[in-house]
């Protein structure tokens, strides 16, 4: 007779097989269509289909799998016909589904609990073998010091190559040339290491698709300036941002953003807000929110506070020139407002505050995120000078054990009073 420990091991092994079996996703696809029958947003349904497609393609091994960090241009993966898997995004999904604690706990046993819980969760998932095996790992040191070493460690565990994109702080012509050279090197090595092919035509096509998605995203962002807010920030920080990270350069991204733009056009034309009684409008700073079950957004909604926009979806880069794909991607990388000097981010915050006519700003300070939280006080001072109420909301995006509902609610209550 199997002991409890052995039973657990057996069920884990079985679950891992299920998660990594492409058949799971073949059967999940029609099932999710039925589950989502009552879901009104077609864009959301595309997000679900995209996730299923991504996991199915990665698990079936028909395509090469590249693990990438957030902000690494996924266009490169699509250009070589590979599937980009972003472990941080998977960790957010796992947290959303309420499955994060055991994986975070595994991460905690290997890494300091002071580092980002998304990485700790992703580490647990990787160590336990729940993620589709990578053929290559590509990360970028853009914003986050963790990305470099975290992915380097995973490459050591999976015995596959790790390529690093290292964008500089400066943005002048030398920096531009340096990033373009790195992109060229990355592509050449991706082709070489995975024995895949790449044509200039394909690269231009992928960058063209990314550009089309950008065009729709710009339209979405403009539509979201409407009062009342047509689209909830909680969703902006989940599937909208998720598609923004994973799908640029694919037809999925174009389809998703085109449909969402159409849905929002309809809502705005009918003057339908996502809240019936929008009293105040708030801008959410940082790329993430708590994904596990929490009542932050419900509480704000109950007080008539709409999260009308979130910094995660701010379009910071200029339109691409599809005839110069690498040059265009280098422009995008160097325009990132969260990298480089804080003034750039301040400029973006100011623009969002004005465009979305917000009554207040919440900075979600995720435990373990230095790049964003390090600037939170300066942003606060800047907004104070502009007379905009501001609150730093301390919390954790992936780890529900770091969520304190009472404390969070008290802070939010005080903030809402301040808005009045």
């Amino acid at each position: 007779m199997a002991t409890i420990g052995e039973e657990e091991k057996i069920s884990h092994r079985a679950l891992k097989r299920v998660v990594r079996n492409p058949l799971t996703y073949w059967s999940l696809a029609p099932l999710m269509e039925i589950v989502n029958l009552r879901e009104q947003s077609r864009a959301y349904k595309i997000w679900v289909r995209y996730l299923i497609w991504m996991m199915r393609s990665a698990c079936s091994k028909r395509k090469k799998v590249i693990w990438m960090s957030a902000f690494t241009p996924v266009e490169l993966a699509y250009a070589v016909g590979a599937i980009p898997i972003l472990p941080e995004i998977i960790a957010a999904l796992v947290s959303y589904l309420g499955w994060a604690p055991p994986f975070i706990s595994i991460g905690n046993s290997m890494m300091s609990t002071d580092v980002c819980s998304f990485y700790r969760c992703a580490l647990g998932l990787a160590v336990e073998g729940y993620l589709p095996r990578p053929d290559l790992i590509v990360s970028s040191s853009h914003l986050c010091d963790g990305a470099n070493k975290f992915f380097s460690y995973l490459s050591q565990r999976y015995a596959c190559s790790h390529l690093l994109l290292d964008p500089p702080y400066d943005t002048g012509p030398e920096a531009h040339g340096y990033v373009t050279d790195q992109l060229r090197y990355l592509l050449a090595h991706m082709v070489d290491l995975m024995a895949v092919s790449l044509s200039e035509e394909e690269l231009c096509k992928v960058v063209g698709l990314s550009n089309t998605m950008r065009k729709y995203m710009v339209r979405i962002n403009r539509l979201r300036m409407a009062i009342p807010a047509p689209f909830p920030g909680s969703e902006g920080l989940s599937y909208l941002a998720g598609m923004g990270f994973c799908s640029p350069g694919s037809t999925w991204g174009v389809r998703f953003s085109a449909i969402l733009a159409r849905e929002l056009e309809d809502r705005v034309a009918k003057k339908r807000g996502y809240l019936d009684n929008e009293r105040y409008r708030v801008l959410w700073l940082h790329h993430i929110r708590p994904y596990y079950q929490n009542d932050i957004f419900q509480f704000l909604s109950s007080q008539g506070v709409s999260v009308c926009f979130e910094e995660a979806n701010y379009m910071y880069w200029p339109p691409f020139d599809p005839t110069k794909p690498l040059d265009s991607l280098a422009h995008k990388i160097l325009s990132n407002v969260w990298a480089g000097p804080l003034e750039r981010r301040l400029g973006a915050v100011k623009e969002m505050v004005n465009n979305y006519r917000v009554n207040g700003v919440i900075h979600f300070s995720h435990w373990g995120c230095r790049q964003s939280c390090g600037g939170a006080s300066i942003i606060g001072d800047f907004l104070k000078d502009q007379g905009v109420p501001y609150m730093i909301l301390y919390g954790d995006g992936a780890d529900p054990d770091n969520y304190f509902p009472g404390q969070t609610r008290t802070r939010l209550q005080a903030f809402v009073e301040m808005l009045g």
């Binding site: 380097s152 230095r370 790049q371 006080s377």
Partner: protein, 365 residues
């Protein structure tokens, strides 16, 4: 050692840096101070006393305590005498320190130096370009002239310091009675307090004297220390107090500054290549190079164990640890991981863990 103290006292009496010479604060070993010295300026290392109360209101509580201490002390007016600051774009903490410093207490001169994470030919060329921009910025602000000759001369003098450090560390490893590594660290911190030439002369005397001492085989557990910046010498002193012998300290206060810069060819290129190729900090891409270096050091110094010290919230080191641990444990090197606070004093927990580690090394190492 009394003799070191005596030489240092003498050095102190000979006078610090002339007040007429402007001082520029710097934060990281990836900043080539050769360029600062070639401009006739004093590079003043920013190593604040642990305390950050003031900065706590301006930087997140889960932020590098060294960065918070730098900002706190700057807000206390401790760095009022500096004519400027140079920060390297080495990590998120440093970037935000630069932002906060410039925002709350704008210094006369401020420069953030972009440092690539690899040493590919492109990275070396790019870093050379940034060094050129750094030269131009210093020349413009301080109305100084940095020539190829002055740069070469400054590099030569700093290389002399490095050579002497290497010899001193070697003397220590070979066993000089009464010479502790904590004393070496205290000595290294004097480098920026007076004219370099005088410091080098004093250092040469110390190297000569320690070289003549009777060599003695040491029987206490031999420990190599690696990690992020240390809050003074507390951890080193603790290890020594508990009976360990430090045979090397791979951190930004010590042995990461001892590699020489070759003087042939284009000097800016040599600086770029040397700084990107020096013993790497965890912020660099390549963990394998760091692991190889540490394994080599373990072999060279016959260290029995490694203590890996990371400051709390120091992401490059915290993220690097699992990879490094695996690589070193594969070669049977015992490792102790310590997470510190930059408080200048160590808690009882750390003391107990170090003690247990040393006992383990003494029994089984």
């Amino acid at each position: 050692m009394k003799v070191i103290r005596h030489i240092l006292d003498q050095l102190g009496r000979q006078g610090g840096r002339a007040e007429s010479v402007a001082s520029v604060g710097w934060t990281c070993t990836y900043i080539p101070i050769e360029i600062v010295e070639a401009a006739g300026l004093t590079p003043a290392r920013i190593l604040p006393e642990p305390s950050s109360e003031k900065a706590d209101a301006y930087l997140d509580p889960n932020f590098c305590p060294y960065v918070r201490a730098c900002l706190g002390k700057a807000m206390d007016g401790e760095y009022k005498g500096l004519s400027g600051i140079i920060v390297a774009n080495t990590c998120d903490g440093m970037r935000r320190l630069y932002d906060a410093w410039c925002h709350y207490m704008p210094p006369g001169f401020a420069f953030i130096l972009d440092v690539p994470r690899t040493r590919s030919p492109n990275a070396i060329a790019y870093f050379r370009g940034r060094l050129q921009a750094f030269v131009r910025a210093l020349e413009e602000y301080f109305k100084a002239e940095i020539t190829e000759d002055s740069l070469r001369q400054a590099t030569e003098e700093i290389n002399r310091t490095r050579r002497l450090y290497q010899r001193l560390i070697m003397n220590h490893i070979q066993g000089v009675p009464g010479l502790r590594y904590s004393a070496l660290l205290a000595l290294f911190s004097k480098e920026w307090e007076g004219p370099r030439r005088l410091f080098n002369d004093a250092l040469e005397e110390i190297v000569r004297i320690t070289g003549q001492c009777t060599q003695k085989e040491l029987f206490s557990p031999r420990v190599l220390v690696t990690g992020s910046i240390l809050d003074g010498t507390s951890i080193i002193e603790l290890i020594e107090e508990l009976g360990g012998t430090i045979v090397g300290v791979d951190c930004c206060l010590a042995e990461r500054m001892v590699q020489e810069v070759p003087l042939d060819g284009d000097i800016l290129n040599a600086l770029s290549e040397s700084y990107l190729g020096k013993i790497p900090c965890a912020r660099m891409k390549d963990t394998a190079t760091r692991a190889k270096f540490l394994l080599r050091q373990v072999e060279k110094t016959r260290a029995q164990g490694l203590i890996y010290g990371a400051l709390k919230f120091c992401d490059p080191y915290l993220y690097e640890f699992p990879a490094l641990k695996e690589k070193l444990q594969k070669r049977d090197v015992p490792i102790l991981f310590l997470e510190g606070e930059y408080r200048g004093r160590l808690g009882g927990g750390i003391r107990t863990r170090v003690q247990a580690f040393l006992e383990m090394l003494a029994n089984f190492g």
